[in-house]
Amino acid sequence: MRFETHQLAQHYPLLFEGLRITLTICALSLAFGIVIGLVACFGKLRERGIAYRIAVIYIDFFRTIPEVVLIFWVYSCLPLMLSLRISAEASGVIALTLFASAYLAEIFRAGILAVPRGQIEAALALGVPSLHIWIRVILQPAIRRMMPALVSFLTELIKATSLLSAIGVAEMAYQASVLGSKTFAYVEFLSAIGVLYFIIIFPLSIYARRAERRLVSRTAN
C-alpha cells in the first residue's frame, strides 16, 4: 500500500486542533481532579466517621468502573437526571474529573502517609503550629515524593482522553477517525496521531521512571 502523505499535509491543522482540545480537556480534568482528589484524600485520612466512608466509597467506585462506562454514563444519563444540557466536551471533563480525582486521592494519600511519623512528632514536640506542620513538614516532602506517581497518572489521563472520541468530542483521536473515513487514509491519520501521543507521553513516562528510581535509591540509604 502507499502511504499518502499528501493527505496529512493537507489536513494536519485539524489534527493539531484535536491536540489542542485533548490537552485542554486534560488540563481541566487534572485541575478539577486535584481539588476533589484532595477533599477525598483528607476524607479517607480521617480513618473513621461518615466523611471517611463517603471518601472510601467514592474512591473505590471511580477507580473500579471502566472509564468508557463512566464517560457514557455521564454523557447519556447525567443530562437526563439533572434535566440539563451538557455538551459532549463538558461530559468528558466531568467523567475524567471523577476518574482523575479518585486516582489522585490515592496518590496524595500514599504521599502523605509516607512521611515518617518521627518527622511529624519532632515538629509537634517543638510546638510548631499545625498549619505550618502541614505545609513545611508534611506536604512539602510529600509532594516531592508523589511526583513520579502523579506524572505517571498524567500519562494515563492523556490516554483516557482518546476515549472521548466515542461521544463525539473533537479531540485528536476523533479528528483522526473522521478524517480517515472521509479520505480513506485511515492508516495515515491514525499513525500520525499515534506518533503525536507517543511524543507527548513517552517523555513523561521516562521522567516518572527516573524520578521513581531516584526516590527509591534515596530512601534506600
Binding site: 512528632e121 519532632a122 509537634l124 514536640a125 517543638l126 510548631v128
Partner: protein, 251 residues
C-alpha cells in the same frame, strides 16, 4: 536558674497516678513522680518497660487515660492550644534524631522559632548560629541532614530543641543509634547543658554518664517506677530484685 546541681528549685513536673493504655495493654501503671527545677533525672530500665512512653506523656505526644500530669503551669490532659504552648517550653530529643530531612540545618533550627515564637528571620538565624556554635558544628549550617554524621545530626537536633529556649529538656536514648566513636561528642553536649542548670529527663543506657551527671536515677519496668534514688545509692545498693538483675546484666 543557675543555682547548679544539688540545689533544688520548685517542682516543675508532677505526675499523679498516671496510667497509659494502648488498647487494653497498660504501658504505664499509676506512675507518680516529681521533678524540681534544675534537676537532672536519668531513666533506665529494660527495653519495652515504658521509658519512652513515660517521657512522651510529659509533652503530650501520648495521651493518658488516668491521673494527671503537671508540667510547668500546664495540667495534662489539656486542649490543643495548651499542649502547643507547653511543647514550646519543653524540648525533646529523639533516638532517631528526626531532623527534617528536606530542610537545611538552618531551616531545621529556624522553623519553630519563626512560626511558633514569631521571631524574625534574622533573629532566628542569629539564634541558630549561636546554638550551632555551642554544640560545635557552626560550619554545617547550610548542609542537609543526609550530609552529616549521626553524631552531628544529633547535635543539630539538640540545638533545634534549644532554639525554642525551653525550660525542660527530654532526651529519649539520644546516643543509642550512634556509632560508638560518636557517643561522647553528644554526651559532652548534654553534660554541658546539665552543668548550665537545665532541668532534664534523660532516658539512657550509658551507666557511666548517669552515675556522673544525674541527681536522681529512675528504674522503670513493666510500666512502673520501681526505684527512685540518687546515683550512688542506685548503683551501689540495688534495693529491687529486678533492678539488681538488670544492673548485673548491663554493667
Amino acid at each position: 536558674m543557675t543555682e547548679g546541681r544539688g540545689k533544688r528549685g520548685q517542682t516543675v513536673v508532677r505526675c499523679v497516678e498516671v496510667t497509659k493504655r494502648f488498647g487494653s495493654f497498660e504501658a504505664l501503671r499509676k506512675v507518680s513522680v516529681e521533678v524540681r527545677a534544675g534537676e537532672v533525672v536519668c531513666i533506665i530500665g529494660p527495653s519495652g518497660g515504658g521509658k519512652s512512653t513515660f517521657l512522651r506523656t510529659l509533652n503530650g505526644l501520648e495521651s493518658i487515660e488516668e491521673g494527671e500530669i503537671h508540667v510547668l503551669d500546664v495540667r495534662l490532659p489539656a486542649g490543643k492550644r495548651e499542649i502547643e504552648r507547653l511543647r514550646r517550653e519543653v524540648g525533646m530529643v529523639f533516638q532517631s534524631f528526626n531532623l527534617f530531612l528536606h530542610m537545611s540545618v538552618r531551616a531545621n533550627l529556624t522553623l519553630a522559632p519563626t512560626t511558633a515564637l514569631g521571631l524574625s528571620k534574622a533573629e532566628a538565624n542569629e539564634r541558630a548560629k549561636r546554638l550551632l556554635t555551642r554544640v560545635g558544628i557552626e560550619e554545617q549550617i547550610d548542609k542537609y541532614p543526609g550530609q552529616l554524621s549521626g553524631g552531628q545530626q544529633q547535635r543539630v537536633a539538640i540545638a533545634r530543641a534549644l532554639a525554642m529556649e525551653p525550660k525542660i529538656m527530654l532526651f529519649d536514648e539520644p546516643t543509642s543509634s550512634l556509632d560508638p566513636e560518636m557517643v561522647n561528642e553528644v554526651l559532652d553536649v548534654i553534660r554541658g547543658l546539665a552543668e548550665s542548670g537545665m532541668t532534664m529527663l534523660v532516658v539512657t543506657h550509658e551507666m557511666g554518664f548517669a552515675r556522673e551527671v544525674a541527681d536522681r536515677v529512675l528504674f522503670i519496668t513493666d510500666g512502673q517506677i520501681l526505684v527512685d534514688a540518687p546515683p550512688a545509692e542506685f548503683f551501689g545498693r540495688p534495693t529491687d530484685e529486678r533492678q539488681a538483675a538488670f544492673l548485673s546484666k548491663i554493667l
